[in-house]
Symmetry: C2
Subunit: 338 residues, 2 copies
Amino acid sequence: MSDTVSRVTIHQVAAAAGVSVATASKALNERGRMTPETRQRVQEVARNLSFRPNAMARALVHQRSFTLGLLTNDTYGRFTLPVAAGLSAAMADRGVSVFLCAIEDDPQRAWLNLEAMEDKRVDGLVIAGKRVDRGLPITLPALSMPVVHVNAECPEGGVGFVPDDEGGAYLATAHLARLGCRRIAHITGPESFAAVHLRVAGWRRALEEAGLPAPGGALFGEWSERFGYETGQRLFSAGAERPDAVFCGNDQIARGLIDALTLLNLRVPEDVAVVGFDNWELFAQAARPPLTTVDMELKGLGREAGLTLLDMIDGKPVERGVRRQPCRLVTRRSCGGP
Amino acid sequence: MSDTVSRVTIHQVAAAAGVSVATASKALNERGRMTPETRQRVQEVARNLSFRPNAMARALVHQRSFTLGLLTNDTYGRFTLPVAAGLSAAMADRGVSVFLCAIEDDPQRAWLNLEAMEDKRVDGLVIAGKRVDRGLPITLPALSMPVVHVNAECPEGGVGFVPDDEGGAYLATAHLARLGCRRIAHITGPESFAAVHLRVAGWRRALEEAGLPAPGGALFGEWSERFGYETGQRLFSAGAERPDAVFCGNDQIARGLIDALTLLNLRVPEDVAVVGFDNWELFAQAARPPLTTVDMELKGLGREAGLTLLDMIDGKPVERGVRRQPCRLVTRRSCGGP
DNA sequence: CTCGATTGAGAAAAGGTTTTCCCAAATCTG
DNA sequence: CAGATTTGGGAAAACCTTTTCTCAATCGAG
């Protein structure tokens, strides 16, 4: 029983139950008509033989493989793994499995994987990237299956899922304003990122709504602790009109900023409140004090993308265009409040 | 041509080429005997129709799906994503695709995915974890397919792949000794990790070989920047016999340590040389100076695991037990030298 | 008691390939 | 030129399910 090499087929079940394979199939799938006794007998026999239908034979007749492809160029993993986990989990619950295709920004590898997915007859494709304003290194050929894009550039007429960067930034800034902060600065990444501009927009919107100034505009730089640290030193050693809060473009910048503030003997959150972006636990939890930050709900993004893809596969009408999934503010101690 | 819904089959190719499906199949697979003209004609027709054989139909007759399952509980992604990328890439080159199953330490989810993999008739299974001394939350039932374990506890008689922690630590320490360091400390993670003990062992072996002392033994704590920072302050503010080098159990600790040293006006690497472990680019590159560190070659681990699994599937004899794949020292500026 | 309707269950086709024979025609051997 | 061998190519089974018919037996009604 342990080293079963050849698997039990529905023929064996049928034989053991003394019925035809047709009847066996119908019994197991709750289809067709037969006496309850027959149905039960077949089901019990199947259970005893621990029969599991061959998904490929099944796929062949259903013209549907219950299989998806996930193409990603994010080897770094910060974005894709949560997305993949969310996708995989939601799909597993529906009997759908996900092929992982890691294409390292290599068009040839992308092509190879794309062909493999076609050959394996996946029902649909998820294209996941690391930047909403960049596509993957593939010009998708006329594919014979539906496609959704996650956290990547979405071509005209396609279906895309991205975090609502603007909304997330608004959430963070409005939270600071509500806590009584009056001069809320924004330190963020390079201007070349679309996400940077969206977050700036959210920051501005919240400031306007609260009737607050945007002191000196946003400070652009890079996504590193170092940039947060250096900018913090510059911003807070110049006496005068110092911010009483900073909304940072990501958690690393926030981490660096907090280091700088600590060095300058400024207390977080009493003297300066800080909010980050990403909820990258590694940074957010390790910061002292632990970081209030914006979670992009990447797992949810993966889940929604998968569910929508299933709808498309089922032929349900699906609205084209990019959906911005709401972010969630995770409050920890770096900005005071409850 | 763009919205092709139903795909072209070998029957259509055969018809178009004026041969039987048997001949068509043989022509395309370089099998059987026929005139070169016939073969070429079939191949050309197939190309023109952009025929691609249905992998599932194929799998059905070959009793082989050219498909693998990757079960992981590492949602965090630090370890599994590189492993998965290496695995996926190596397999793609061989026409094998990989199902990703993210089971979040949830036995029920594990079971669900395991059944899905059985149903989909994967040829083999890769079980990947985040700690070499922990298994996944599944007691593998008598599986009908070969299994390899990566970066996870490997059951008696199984086949496993882990980084050679001891060797990596030796590499790092020996490098410091070769550069002339005489008092090489070791700051690392919790004693509950097997990897911690292995790295301590490598550190000790290198010290012994170089005839150096192990000042005060290894310093155990946690895998955080904070621990590196605090231990650095403690270790280096006490005057007297200060180390002239530190081998850190991971890059985060090293990063924290460097922060502490900088604050104490100790120069890296002139006053204290530092080596990390993980080569997590995010930390290693961002550190100032950039960190010399040990790379566990996780992609290679994934690749080797996959290739060995393929051997097992092919019925080739494969030695049981755990293989320790060598690490690689990545030299940057934090320990001087060339 | 007969005719039509219902019921339970099986035969066979379909889904797309590969592979094992098998056969007729062409080629070679003596 | 008769017989043996090679050659090119096809028919059909196999892989495992599902689904659509079909059919005999049973049932109810008149």
